[in-house]
């Protein structure tokens, strides 16, 4: 019986647990969604309700806030498990550090960033986003959000040993989010102005792929360090 075959159910169990935790009372997913919803709906108050101004800034605001919501929920990706001791148990499971971070990132994406992408059209309505941009908005978020989870995972793992490493994580990962943000907003802006969003999308997808490779290895290394 090879170790790989045996690890699949463990991997799935971890993903399931994390999704369940994220959605259980006080979990991070609700927080991120609530933050996303509330923060976007504050902008019309702040900026004023002029429809064309709102529309002009809609893609930027939605992407920036989605990104901030992801950061907020990533803050405790490993921290909670570290504090209650279950990170020890995870690290002793046969799936190993890479498996753990892959499972946790997948769970985070499924439970938190994916719902953000699905909620985005509603935010588009609040921000008076033109009709032609909705498809691209969702698509760009679907393609781009895994990069948010992956990059965030590195920051979360690096700061896990630092109590309330929040700032540190913010400063570490937000610069790394900039490419994703630029390409994501670029795609939606292109769709809004009826030009071709494809080049932006391609770059966005490339960013996500790079994040996949680098993110998992870096997270795993950082996690091992955290327990020392």
């Amino acid at each position: 019986m090879s170790a790989e075959v045996k690890s699949i159910p463990m991997f799935m169990a971890l993903v399931r647990r994390d999704v369940k935790l994220a959605w259980s009372q006080g979990g991070g997913a609700m927080l991120a969604l609530g933050f996303f919803f509330v923060a976007v709906s504050l902008f019309p108050f702040g900026v004023g309700p002029a429809p064309q101004v709102l529309a002009r800034i809609a893609p930027g605001v939605i992407w920036v806030v989605a990104l901030l919501a992801a950061v907020i929920s990533l803050d405790r990706l490993y921290q909670a498990d570290y504090e209650d001791g279950s990170l020890d148990d995870l690290m002793l499971s046969p799936i190993g550090p890479i498996g753990i971070s892959a499972a946790k990132v997948l769970a985070h994406w499924l439970s938190t960033t994916l719902p953000l992408a699905l909620l985005a059209p509603a935010m588009g309505v609040l921000m008076n986003l033109p009709d032609q941009a909705y498809g691209t908005l969702i698509l760009s978020l679907l393609v781009g959000t895994p990069a948010l989870s992956l990059i965030g995972s590195v920051g979360a793992a690096l700061t896990v040993a630092v109590r309330r490493g929040g700032v540190l994580m913010l400063l570490l990962i937000l610069p790394l989010y900039v490419p994703t943000l630029i390409f994501g907003v670029g795609a939606v802006d292109a769709a809004m102005s009826l030009t071709d969003p494809l080049p932006h999308m391609a770059l966005l997808a490339a960013t996500t792929l790079i994040a996949l490779v680098v993110g998992l290895f870096a997270s795993a290394a950082a996690l091992k360090l955290a327990l020392e």
Binding site: G26, P44, F45, P49
Partner: protein, 244 residues
């Protein structure tokens, strides 16, 4: 105080009121709808769309009224630790949320023809939206804390904090001159609305009141029974554990 605390007594009282309230609701609603949609003139400015008023205005009134019921119940619960008052607040909240949502939705639907937009961020609309969030927050707090009494008291504190919002809703139109209509019925110097519109409006308001009474009493009874059931379940779950 604790004479009314007795749930059995409350149940008896509720059973006595419920049929009357239900009857009043049916009659008032029937009459109100008839006058509102068939026997009242269209407005000279607003045309037929004025009929939204008969749904919108009483709903807005009830949204505020229900909040006050909730706030008084919360105050009673916090000061006198009255368990029935906790349940009263809990029973009222969803009704109030529905009224608020109804006022918002009908207002938005009315706003499109009248103001040319579904939504503006003015004082009245904003404060009603805040009211909806307060209802939701109140209910969410009840949900979030497992220990019922604790949950109820936490929610009660929130309800009392939110009372500040009620005068803002009421007077925002006077404080900031905005798109929304100022008060024409509930004002100190008497209503300024025409009788042909006032009558169906008052009928509908009565119907909403009766509806509130019916659902509120019914939900109270439900809450009491639910508590009894929870207690009974705990007896069966934990009885063998006790160190006899």
């Amino acid at each position: 105080m604790h004479r009314f605390a007795n749930p059995a007594q409350f149940n008896r009282l509720a059973d006595a009121i419920l049929p009357w309230a239900t009857g009043a609701f049916v009659l008032l609603l029937g009459a109100g709808l008839y006058y509102a949609f068939f026997d009242s003139p269209p407005d000279y400015q607003q045309g037929e769309s004025v009929r939204v008023m008969y749904i919108h205005v009483p709903a807005a009134w009830m949204a505020m009224f229900t909040y006050m019921v909730m706030a008084v119940a919360s105050f009673t619960a916090l000061v006198w630790r009255h368990p029935l008052a906790l349940l009263a607040g809990r029973a009222a909240a969803p009704i109030g949320a529905v009224f608020t949502a109804l006022a918002l939705i009908t207002g938005m639907l009315w706003g499109k023809p009248m103001w040319g937009t579904y939504w503006v961020w003015d004082g009245r609309l904003t404060s009603v939206l805040v009211l909806l969030f307060l209802y939701l927050g109140y209910m969410a707090l009840w949900q979030a804390i497992d220990e019922e009494e604790k949950a109820g008291r936490a929610a009660s504190i929130l309800a009392l904090v939110g009372v500040v919002n009620i005068p803002i809703i009421k007077f925002s139109v006077d404080w900031w001159s905005t798109l929304h209509q100022p008060a024409s019925v509930m004002r100190l110097d008497g209503p300024t609305i025409d009788g042909s519109m006032l009558m169906p409006l008052l009928l509908m308001a009565g119907a909403y009141q009766a509806y509130f009474a019916v659902v509120f009493l019914w939900r109270m009874k439900l809450e009491i029974n639910r508590r009894k059931l929870a207690v009974a379940r705990q007896v069966s779950m934990h009885a063998p554990v006790g160190a006899e």
